[in-house]
């Protein structure tokens, strides 16, 4: 009698722990890329070249693996989006090509656009989501923060 009671208690306890872990996993927010340690640090143009020469490999390496990527480059343009976020476009060899970095709303509200003029060099950390090829080529970084 006592033994079966014990087993029942253990099962109940496991169920509660399991449920708590499940609930935690389920509610877990998306990784904070802007504040994570960078998995890759490279020039924006180098990242662009990897996508440009073999986008399949680059998607596997950076995108699917959810790596935190830190790029540095020269600002060619900045844009304020409808949702309040800011996108910083980094200059590539061709004027039609960019690495675009969209900051989190939090990071967007912290900066003054006047401090990010054309030609300034900048380091940005975030999540690389892929490359669009409809208008020139654009490697896209989202959930970004300015990295010192």
């Amino acid at each position: 009698m006592k033994k079966s009671y014990k087993i029942l208690m253990i099962i109940a306890l496991l169920a509660v722990i399991g449920g708590a872990i499940g609930y935690y996993m389920y509610q877990k927010p998306v990784k904070n890329f802007a504040d994570s340690k960078a998995d890759y640090t490279l020039a924006a143009s180098a990242l662009f070249n990897e996508f440009s020469t073999n986008s399949e490999e680059a998607v596997k390496k950076y995108v699917t693996a959810d790596k935190t990527v830190l790029v540095d480059g020269i600002i060619s343009d900045t844009k304020k989006n409808d949702d309040g976020t800011i996108t910083i476009f980094l200059k590539m060899q061709s004027d039609d090509d960019f690495v675009s970095c969209t900051l989190t709303l939090d990071a967007s509200q912290k900066i003054n656009l006047a401090d990010y003029p054309k030609g300034k060099s900048v380091k940005i950390k975030g999540q690389c989501s892929g490359m669009q090829e409809l208008i020139g080529k654009e490697v896209i970084m989202i959930r970004c923060g300015i990295s010192a």
Binding site: K31, D82, Q132
Partner: protein, 182 residues
């Protein structure tokens, strides 16, 4: 006489501006939304690339699947790995034409109803679709808006029966694209 010519030139100028120029956007947004009693799915992609060619009356979209931002990590993971298979199919595309496109209609400020016909590719499956939307023209700025539903089964996306009560079989898409003149 000279005066008349310049007046006529001014009148037809907007038509030519639209017809000759391409309109592009790299920061359009698409929000996907589905609601069942058990679960609300809500994600936004603010990095939609789109182009309108005024002279041909064509419209195109390039949508990077991984740019859809969810709040919950698990939901984003399932969206990418189980449903959209974003490693295999990193983007969705649309290529189409305005069916009732008359350049003169877009010379003046206003909101115009438009219909678009074309090929929508999601999850590697291409379907012919016809969608309605609006084009807002304001002082040379053009914004496209549309709201429609997509049946996920049409694009070979299977929803396992265990999550049928959480994931709806149709997903609503809210499209909002602000264009710049190229």
């Amino acid at each position: 006489m000279k005066k008349y010519i310049s007046i006529i030139a001014l009148l037809i100028l907007p038509v030519f501006l639209f017809s000759q120029d391409k309109y592009i956007s790299r920061n359009g947004s698409i929000r996907i939304y589905s609601q069942t009693a058990a679960e609300t799915i809500d994600a936004t992609n603010g990095q939609i690339a789109s182009a309108i060619d005024g002279s041909k009356g064509t419209l195109a979209f390039d949508v990077i699947i991984k740019s859809f931002k969810f709040k919950k990590a698990l939901m984003e993971e399932h969206f990418n790995e189980n449903y959209m298979q974003s490693e295999k199919f990193p983007k969705s595309t649309f290529k189409g034409k305005f069916t009732d496109f008359d350049l003169k209609n877009f010379a003046k400020n206003g909101t115009y109803n438009v219909t678009v016909d074309g090929d929508l590719t999601i999850h590697g499956v291409t379907k012919k679709v016809t969608q309605k939307g609006t084009l807002e023209v304001k002082d040379g700025k053009v914004t496209a808006k549309s709201k429609f539903t997509v049946k996920v089964g049409d694009y070979g996306i299977e929803i396992p029966s265990v999550v049928k009560d959480k994931v709806a079989s149709t997903i609503e898409l809210q499209v909002n694209i602000p264009y710049d003149k190229k």
